[in-house]
């Protein structure tokens, strides 16, 4: 996973509430067995007509945002299905940071597994960023927890363990496998207190 430290990029305003993961990447694109290649179908039904033509007034089709690296959105972003295809499609498009007033839990967790920063700011701040977004790139500094655009400057909160994961680009599984002894110990104990959890297929 790529580290996330600072990012300066155009920020595309998608000022809708409750953007669900079906909207981020519709079901027909979940048939892939790969993580890559989903960027072209990010927000497919908002971005293209039924016959595949670009819808000109959709934000990511506008010249200022075709290379957006940041997305600005409304509350409860990423609700619904647990599909990790949602962060994969954002990443494949080139978006490494989503700024919204709140996120749904599963989507929020999935972002950190993919080097994407889901960043929480109050709606009023996001509206100020959106107002200047077509001419002013946004700079996100994770280490110092700041968001800046032109004269605008905000600070944001993030849980320290989440911050570390992104700053260091950690391999979660490798880390947990170092705890194999503790896991072995847990299983040894549980298999005596709840033996019925260890008997399938026997």
């Amino acid at each position: 996973m790529d580290k996330f430290t600072t990012l300066t990029a155009p920020a595309a305003p998608l000022m809708m509430e409750n953007v669900d993961t079906d909207l981020i990447i519709p079901k027909q694109f979940l048939k892939t067995i790969k993580r890559t290649g989903l960027g072209k179908n990010l927000f497919n039904d908002l971005r293209y007509t039924q016959d595949g033509q670009e819808i000109g007034n959709f934000v990511l089709n506008k010249p200022a945002y075709r290379k957006a690296g940041i997305l600005l959105a409304g509350q409860n972003f990423g609700c619904g299905s647990s599909r990790e295809h949602a962060p994969w499609s954002l990443l494949d498009f080139g978006i490494r940071c989503v700024i919204a007033p709140s996120f749904a839990d599963i989507f929020y967790g999935n972002c950190f597994k993919n080097g994407i920063l889901p960043l929480t700011l109050p709606m009023a701040a996001i509206e100020q960023l959106a107002a200047v977004a077509d001419t002013t790139p946004v700079t996100v500094d994770l280490k110092n927890q700041t968001v800046k655009a032109g004269n605008l400057s905000f600070t944001f909160d993030i849980e320290p363990f989440r911050k570390t994961v992104l700053l260091e680009g950690l391999d979660d599984i490798g880390q947990t496998l170092q705890k194999t002894k503790a896991i072995d110990g847990f299983e040894a104990k549980q298999s005596t207190t709840q033996p019925w959890l260890y008997q399938e297929g026997k």
Binding site: M16, E17, N18, D20, D22, L23, P26, K27, Q28, L30, K31, T32, I33, K34, R35, D45, Q50, G74, Q75, N76, C79, G80, S81, S82, R83, E84, P87, S102, A104, D105, I106, G109, N110, K113, N114, E159, P160, F161, T164, D172, I173, T176, L177, K179, T180, A182, I183, F186, E187, Q190, T193, Q194, P195, W196, L197, Y198, Q199, E200, G201
Partner: protein
């Protein structure tokens, strides 16, 4: 210190508390399906890792599978490849699997409980948000992404931060024709689709205690539609009676020992929740959704809300977008909304009691002209049971299509879907834009209500059928 049900299950699974406030949590049960697992198995393969506990893992294909003519294989090449990839992966990694033609195949959240794989006090995960279903057994069950699927396959653990707790206490008496689906729709409208964010919900109270296991599963299933990490119900005699004798449930002396432990899994007197809500459902009519968010719920007897109900400018804009997408107007009588299709199925409502409730309405009646109605059982075993009871005959004689088990039109990954502008009365869990097919319009409701819509050709009050 008094503990909640969630605290007890959490505490029993801490492998290690970490200094940053998270914990390494042991996972007892891992359900796997074809859509969210290929990249996880590929990850294991690339790093030379194994599945730590194949015996605690169970795989089945459900999202992509055809519901007619399955014996002829899967026509869509991408769907076929995804199912074949799962079949290859379970073989390579030694994971138990129910193949497409076996009676045990079905929707992952119906199969787990049916087999006794889901047990009280366990941690249950799956790469699917409706894993919350299994919380009906007093399990801590939640959906995860594919990276976490890989993490669980490799380590049988997850690094988690403890959630906050919420109590939803349901009082009163359920009216005729009103079901657990109506209760959960009402609760979602009450707390909102983000109301449960960061929380694990415990459903409790006299109404919940009287519900069957299947009805409880429908409630916990939609915890995610309220934004919650998980939903739980304390196990009791109804839970134990449901589990006894299931293929993977404990047997003999283990059974007695297990039940003794499971009886301790309830919230202690004096334990505090972070948030509590109460709902009295006495006199509550059947509920339906009118918009494109599961919180847009109304009584079947009501009108579509007008924008006078909007809290602010953004909410008003969202409501207007919903009217436009749904092809309805604010103030319109809900019962006047005509449907093109009816879908009875999904992990929310495709169990035997759901099919019985729908069949009771369908019996001796006929699906309205120009309406296509599908009944998709949740598993091969549900299908078989329904056929043994003659429900398939009732449905087909009434003009419903009797299908093979799978997720089907809940998310429309297979051939079962809405065409643009088509409207569906659906027993599933999500009414998002495009969920059942691009441009498709979904109204969520109970199985009996969906059957009533199929018969009348419009959204209808099922109570009119059972006077």
């Amino acid at each position: 210190m008094p503990n909640t049900l969630y605290d007890k299950v959490w505490n029993a699974h801490v492998v290690e508390d970490r200094p940053d406030g998270t914990a390494l949590i042991y996972i007892d049960r891992h359900l796997v399906h074809e859509v969210t697992s290929p990249q996880a198995f590929e990850g294991l393969r690339m790093s030379g890792r194994k599945v730590r506990r194949p015996d605690a893992t169970l795989a089945v294909a459900d999202h992509n599978v055809p519901t007619v003519g399955r014996e002829n294989g899967i026509a869509d090449p991408e769907s076929r490849e995804q199912v074949q990839t799962l079949e290859h992966n379970v073989k390579e990694f030694g994971v138990p699997y129910f193949d497409l033609m076996s009676d045990q195949q079905g929707i992952v959240h119906i199969v787990g409980p049916e087999q006794g794989f889901t047990l009280p006090g366990t941690t249950v995960v799956c790469g699917d948000s409706h894993t919350s279903t299994h919380g009906a057994f007093g399990a801590l069950a939640f959906g995860i992404g594919t990276s976490e699927v890989e993490h669980v396959l490799a380590t049988q653990t997850l690094v988690l931060k403890k959630s906050k707790t919420m109590l939803l206490h349901v009082d009163g008496t359920l009216g005729k024709g009103v079901t657990s689906k109506d209760i959960i729709l009402k609760l979602i409208s009450m707390i909102g689709t983000a109301g449960g964010t960061g929380h694990v919900i415990e459903f409790a109270g006299p109404v919940i205690e009287k519900l069957s296991m299947e009805a409880r599963m429908s409630i916990c299933n939609m915890s995610i539609e309220a934004g919650a990490r998980a939903g739980m119900i304390a196990p009791d005699d109804i839970t134990f009676a449901y589990l006894k004798g299931r293929p993977m449930a404990p047997k003999g002396a283990d059974w007695d020992k297990a039940v003794a432990y499971w009886r301790t899994l309830k919230t202690d007197k004096g334990a505090a929740y972070d948030v509590e809500y109460r709902l009295d459902i006495t006199d509550m009519p059947p509920q339906v959704t009118w918009g494109t968010s599961p919180e847009t719920v109304a009584d079947i007897t009501a009108n579509v809300p007008t924008t006078d109900a909007a809290h602010n400018a953004e909410h008003k804009a969202a409501m207007e977008r919903m009217y436009d997408y749904m092809g309805i107007t604010g103030g319109q009588k809900i019962e006047d909304i005509a449907v093109d299709k009816v879908f009875i199925g999904s992990c929310t409502n495709a169990r035997i009691e759901d099919l019985r409730a729908a069949a009771a309405i369908a019996k001796g009646r006929h699906v309205a002209k120009n309406v296509q109605a599908l009944v998709v059982p949740g598993s091969g075993l549900v299908r078989k049971q329904a056929e043994a009871e003659g429900l398939d005959k009732i449905f087909t004689e009434a003009g419903f299509e009797w299908r093979q088990p799978g997720c089907s039109m809940c998310l429309a990954m297979n051939a079962d879907r809405l065409e643009p502008g088509e409207r569906c009365a659906s027993t599933s869990n999500r009414n998002f834009e495009g969920r059942q097919g691009r441009g498709g319009r979904t109204h969520l409701m109970s199985p009996a209500m969906a059957a009533a819509a199929a018969i009348t050709g419009h959204l209808a009050d099922v109570r009119e059928f059972i006077k």
